[in-house]
Amino acid sequence: ARQRFLNTFGRIRENFQNTFQEFFEGGEADLTMPPEEDPLEAPIIITARPWGKRLQSINLLSGGERALTAIALLFAIYLVKPSPFCVLDEVDAPLDDANIARFVKVIQKFSKQSQFIVVTHNKGTMESGETLHGVTMEEPGVSRLVSVKISSDSENQVDSVDAFT
């Protein structure tokens, strides 16, 4: 069990070093455990260095930087055993416009291999999708789908995005 955890940990770590650089367009990050402790018990330490800044523990980063680092790490874990589709539920909430653009670029790259279902309130994220489904609740407590397909219909895109937010 110890060996299996160490193997998985090693793969997550390697993935993380890559996904972090993809999401942050630079900088570096690492995942470590204090070597003298038992790998099944030791705390997992996450350090990250966004471009131009100093290497720090994840807790010293800003809200948005931490969220994007966590997203990179969750993707690193997902990539150990990638399923054919991936669902993201509002993970982009703390990101500013520049980070949304980076986030979207990475999702678009991954989406060539995996299907993505992305729940979001963010207009930048919405514009990256090939399909948009709107859910409404005109009658309180009762959901209704108001579909807007925008694949190959970018004219339609801007108005419908406004209608849903």
Partner: protein
């Protein structure tokens, strides 16, 4: 392999039938707070065999059945059907299209069907076993998980890693 259709009736806020077509690439689900977007994610997980009510934001499994509003009575059953394209034969079955159906009644009884043929939960779990879609829903990344992995709580952070191992 990818998802092609999600249908739901009587599941959480879907008192009216939900029929959502899904495509390859990126599909965005949008709408106001509380309209049912995360309920769509819950429906997907539930159809794929999620057994832990906590992962569906519920106290007990019966909570997923539409419990009524000020103007509608509760329903007696929740049903979700998820259709997958299997033309690449990634799932161990000769069908090139597979529809998983799950029902739960107020009595606590459950039905499971594969392409309309009654089966057991175990058959669905076996079918999905090698795709990374098993009982762990590591294919869902949500805000709560972002907080857990950043969290100072070493236990919570470790759990995200152990589920991948």
């Amino acid at each position: 392999m990818y998802l092609t259709r999600l249908q739901a009736l009587g599941f959480k806020s879907f008192a009216q039938k939900l029929d959502m077509p899904l495509q390859k690439g990126i599909t965005c689900v949008v709408g106001p707070n509380g309209c049912g977007k995360s309920n769509v994610v819950d429906a997907l997980r539930w159809a794929l065999g999620e057994q832990r009510p906590r992962s569906l934001r519920s106290g007990s499994m019966g909570d997923v059945i539409f419990s009524g509003t000020r103007s509608r009575k509760p329903l007696g059953m929740a049903e979700v059907s998820l259709t997958l394209d299997n033309s690449q034969k990634i799932l161990p079955t000769e069908f090139s299209e597979v529809t998983i159906t799950r029902r739960l009644f107020r009595s606590g009884e459950s039905d499971y069907l594969l392409n309309k043929i009654p089966c057991r939960l175990k058959d669905i779990q076996n079918l999905l076993m090698d795709t990374g879609l098993g009982t762990q829903s590591s294919y869902v990344i949500e805000q709560g998980m972002v907080d857990e992995i950043i969290s100072d709580n070493a236990e919570e952070r470790r759990r995200c890693f152990e589920e991948a191992a």
